[in-house]
């Protein structure tokens, strides 16, 4: 143990700077991988832009227009240059800037994922805490069963079943689209099911671990009542690993959102990307992937900031 005094403010800046540099590297890596993977699989976007059966000359003319006739590395370089300037290229099919296209549908996905994440936290955190309060008790057992069941269900199956009951049979809720607030219910439920299960276990786990730490014993020795130990002493410690898990889950939520968008025809980036793949609209696919990756990286950066804030060790730059 060493007493630090000078490292306090420098630690945070250094930590965040390092994470930021890592984030940039990751984004660059994603750009490379997307670009090459898309182009090295068979399928010619030019051919899909002309009526089927068109002559080779016609197809070649389109290739020139799209720029896909150039050598691969040249295309990549142009792409990178554009990327740095914030230009994600132009859609092959719609001849609109990819950035516009993607940003126009992005809020829908963001809303879906955000609401799902919030909802999941709102449900999972209290349940996890309640379970941790009396380990082995009735609540705990019920919650654990719920959690393990939730993690075992295929989420799209839940989604389709929900639509079958609530939209088709009962007519209570909309089946597609995101026009009204009510349309959020089924998609969010579908997306949240597995997430809630995972988060419950995480919260419960972190709380139990925190509760088994020595400082809880000290607090009890001080005469601190259980409720305070729970919600003040343990929770603040438990929040730290929880925040990390939430960061990791953001990636899975985004992935899950794609399937949900398909089921509910949610006009988000997932649908856009799926269609872009069918039409070999590479710039759009790339744009979506880049955006999702950036979102993921930013979310994790925020998580890191939250982590640094919550964990004084990190905040004050102590060496482990």
């Amino acid at each position: 143990m060493r007493a630090t005094g000078s490292g306090r403010s420098g630690g945070v800046a250094r930590f965040l700077l390092r994470r930021f540099a890592q984030a940039l590297f990751v984004i660059f890596g994603v750009a490379c991988v997307t670009f090459f993977v898309l182009r090295l699989v068979p399928g010619d976007p030019a051919r899909l832009m002309v009526p089927p059966g068109s002559s080779e000359a016609v197809v070649e003319a389109i290739r020139v227009k799209l720029g896909t006739n150039l050598p691969l590395l040249e295309q990549f370089w142009a792409y990178l240059v554009g990327l740095v300037q914030g230009d994600l290229g132009t859609s092959f099919r719609y001849e609109r800037p990819v950035l516009d296209l993607v940003l126009s549908v992005f809020p829908a996905t963001l809303a879906l994922g955000g609401v799902a994440m919030l909802f999941s936290l709102l449900v999972a955190v209290p349940l996890g805490i309640a379970a941790a309060a009396k380990p082995g008790g009735v609540t705990d057992r019920i919650v654990l069963v719920l959690a393990i069941v939730g993690q075992s269900l295929p989420n799209f199956w839940i989604g389709v079943m929900l639509v079958l009951f609530f939209s088709i049979r009962l007519g209570w809720l909309p089946a597609i689209g995101n026009e009204t607030a009510v349309s959020y219910i089924l998609p969010v439920l579908t997306l949240s099911a597995v997430l809630i299960a995972t988060l419950i276990r995480t919260v419960r786990q972190s709380m139990l671990e925190a509760l088994s730490e020595d400082y809880v014993r000290t607090a009890r020795a001080k005469g601190v009542p259980w409720s305070r130990i729970f919600f003040v002493h343990a929770l603040k410690n438990a929040a730290i690993p929880l925040v990390t898990v939430v960061g990791l889950q953001i990636g899975f939520v985004l992935g899950g959102a794609f399937v949900v968008e398909l089921i509910f025809n949610w006009p988000g980036v997932g649908l856009l990307a799926l269609q872009a793949i069918s039409t070999r609209d590479f710039p759009v696919v790339q744009g979506v992937v880049m955006l999702v990756a950036i979102l993921f990286v930013v979310a994790n950066l925020l998580v890191d900031i939250a982590y640094a804030y919550l964990n004084p060790r990190v905040r004050l730059g102590a060496e482990q």
Binding site: M1, A3, T34, I148, S152, M161, T218, K222, V224
Partner: protein
């Protein structure tokens, strides 16, 4: 014993389901009543056997081409399982290797590998799978396995890396390195076996995950090409026919659910047994209510001692249903201002006794008999609320390891203030001042700075002093000190003890000092209890006991201390660093 822990109801259910799954996989051709691919369009959409319009030959109905749903489920099990298992095996092999390399060699190897993992994690997997699978002409089992393994290796790599980072610092690795073993040898012959339990558990969990992912991919239309069947493709078919044949979607969904559930249940059970560190199931045994006899809580005269412990017995239940006695019929008393020492080796029950007095027993333990009276008030059978009123104010405790006993996310000053605010009616600012005074009282040089610091920012000695400050903040009548100096170096140890001694003398607090170190006991206590195996073997004034121990065990203890101090090595080592 392990089997018993393993065979919890959940795990048994899981194993049964898995056995069923395996049976389907191995004996599909024999079990399935029909061929899964034989099309009979005239018989399409027959409902399951309990519905009208069904055909008794087709238990679960038929699909859109007249194929038997049940047979397809059974054969689908084989494909789904095969794909998921293969993918997990590849992902594990690759991920573990990579994780080993990253964790063991660290440095740039670690950086590169982890950045690649980061990139992959940032990548929306579904899109990647889509891009690849939607353009490959043939979606064979192999293609899907590769895509799944590709998605999964990162999880294994990360977890393994984390474990290896910890393992490589351990004694046995250092020892092997000192012996000149090659890195490869160490990695695969030493570290790998140590982390194997974690690897296995994670592999099982990911198996469940990949089964789900395979079904998701099939659902979007990227499943294995017909005529091969997997549960995922069955689900996809079912969705298209939802209006006509709900059974086509429900049964495969149920099958997937049960399989994944089974794997999760078994994985949890395995985790519990193989690697409790993972604490996945975290099944905590229900705490038994204290079976103590309720004694009348009479307030007796001031004349009686501060603390009277009478015939106290504490038991801990075992996994196989029995219990073990940690403390057997222990009795002692502490007068106001008196200092009692409790000495014994680890396992003697001294710490358990102390914890029991404070009411801080681990949830599994329970008082089977006896009474504890503090200032005449019976503590056994009291509720937590009642105990909380006594703790901190009537009695307080300081613990062995101050670095873990202090809450790492709250400032030291705050932790002291909390104790004050809990038991005294003062304002916040008053509490803050009191806290600073307390810090001064325990000889901390810069109380303001320390109060503003987090525990990890101050030295071990200061942490211990802070803990003492917390304990003494409300002027308790009784202070229990459990091995208060074990975790500190020798010089600080002596310092702290002396300071504590002065403080106690000034405040007139009664003390129970627990230690394995007879020297410490001899110097600072008035009376001493010698414990062994949960029982008090000898008790009496310290000076007498030290001078003339009667019980052979006490004699051994003394002899061990003397030999260490005397510098002559004996065969015995009675001094063990106890964990209570």
């Amino acid at each position: 014993m392990i089997m018993r822990r393993l065979l919890r109801p959940g795990v048994v259910v899981g194993l049964v389901l898995i056995a069923l799954l395996l049976a389907c996989t191995l004996f599909a051709d024999w079990i399935a009543p029909h061929s899964p691919t034989r099309m009979a369009p005239a018989l399409k959409y027959l409902p399951p056997i309990w519905l009208e319009g069904s055909d008794p030959r087709y238990l679960l109905g038929t699909d859109q081409l007249g194929r038997d749903v049940l047979s397809r489920l059974i054969h689908g099990a084989r494909t789904s399982l095969f794909i998921a298992v293969s993918a997990v095996m590849i992902a594990t092999a690759f991920g573990v290797t990579v994780g080993l390399l990253a964790g063991y060699f660290r440095g740039w190897v670690d950086v590169v590998i982890m950045r690649i993992a980061d990139i992959q994690l940032a990548f929306p997997f579904i899109l990647l799978a889509l891009a690849i699978l939607s353009v490959t002409e043939v979606k064979s089992a192999l293609t899907i396995i590769i895509v799944l393994a590709f998605a999964d290796w990162v999880i294994h790599a990360r977890i393994v890396r984390g474990r290896v980072l910890v393992e490589r610092e351990k004694e046995y690795v250092r020892g092997a390195r000192a012996l000149g073993a090659s890195n490869l040898r160490i990695m695969f012959l030493y570290v790998l076996p140590a982390i194997l339990p974690t690897v296995i558990v994670i592999a099982m969990i990911e198996l469940a995950v990949l089964m789900l992912v395979e079904s998701i991919l099939s659902f979007i239309g990227l499943g294995i090409d017909p005529p091969a069947i997997s549960w995922g493709t069955a689900l996809a078919d079912g969705r298209r026919s939802l209006g006509n044949a709900w059974w086509m979607m429900v049964f495969p969904g149920v099958a997937i659910f049960l399989a994944v559930l089974a794997i999760n249940l078994v994985a949890d059970g395995l985790a519990d047994v193989l690697d409790p560190r993972l604490k996945l199931s975290g099944i905590y045994r229900r705490a038994d209510r204290s079976k103590a006899l309720a004694s009348p809580r009479t307030m007796e005269q001031k004349e009686s001692p501060l603390l009277v412990v009478n015939n106290l017995s504490v038991m801990f239940p075992l996994d196989d249903g029995g219990s073990v006695s940690a403390v057997k019929a222990v009795s002692f008393a502490v007068k106001a201002g008196e200092r009692l020492g409790i000495v014994g080796e680890s396992g003697s029950g001294k710490s358990v006794t102390a914890m029991t007095v404070m009411g801080l027993l681990d949830s599994a333990g329970y008082i089977s008999s006896g009474s504890i009276r503090l200032k005449g008030r019976e503590l056994v059978g009291s509720s937590e609320r009642e105990l909380n009123r006594v703790r901190g104010r009537g009695m307080a405790m300081i613990f062995q390891d101050a670095s873990t006993a202090l809450n790492p996310v709250f400032r030291v000053g705050w932790q002291i203030e909390e104790a004050i605010l809990l038991h005294q009616k003062v304002s916040r600012s008053q509490a803050r001042k009191n806290a600073l005074d307390l810090l001064r009282m325990v000889n901390i040089a810069e109380p303001e700075r320390v109060a503003q610091s987090y525990p990890f920012e101050i030295s071990g000695g200061m942490q211990q002093r802070a803990m003492i400050a917390i304990a003494l903040s409300c002027g308790p009548d009784l202070l229990i000190a459990d091995e208060p100096t074990t975790a500190v170096d020798v010089t600080t140890q002596a310092q702290i003890l002396r300071e504590l001694d002065a403080l106690i003398a000034r405040l007139g607090t009664g003390v129970i000092l627990i230690s394995h170190d007879l020297g410490v006991i001899a110097e600072f206590t008035d009376r001493v209890l010698v414990m062994k195996d949960g029982e008090v073997v000898e008790s009496g004034p310290t000076a007498e006991i030290v001078a003339a121990p009667r019980h052979p065990y006490t004699q051994q203890l003394l002899a061990a201390v003397r030999s260490l101090e005397g510098g002559e090595p004996t065969g015995e080592k009675a001094v063990v660093h106890a964990a209570g």
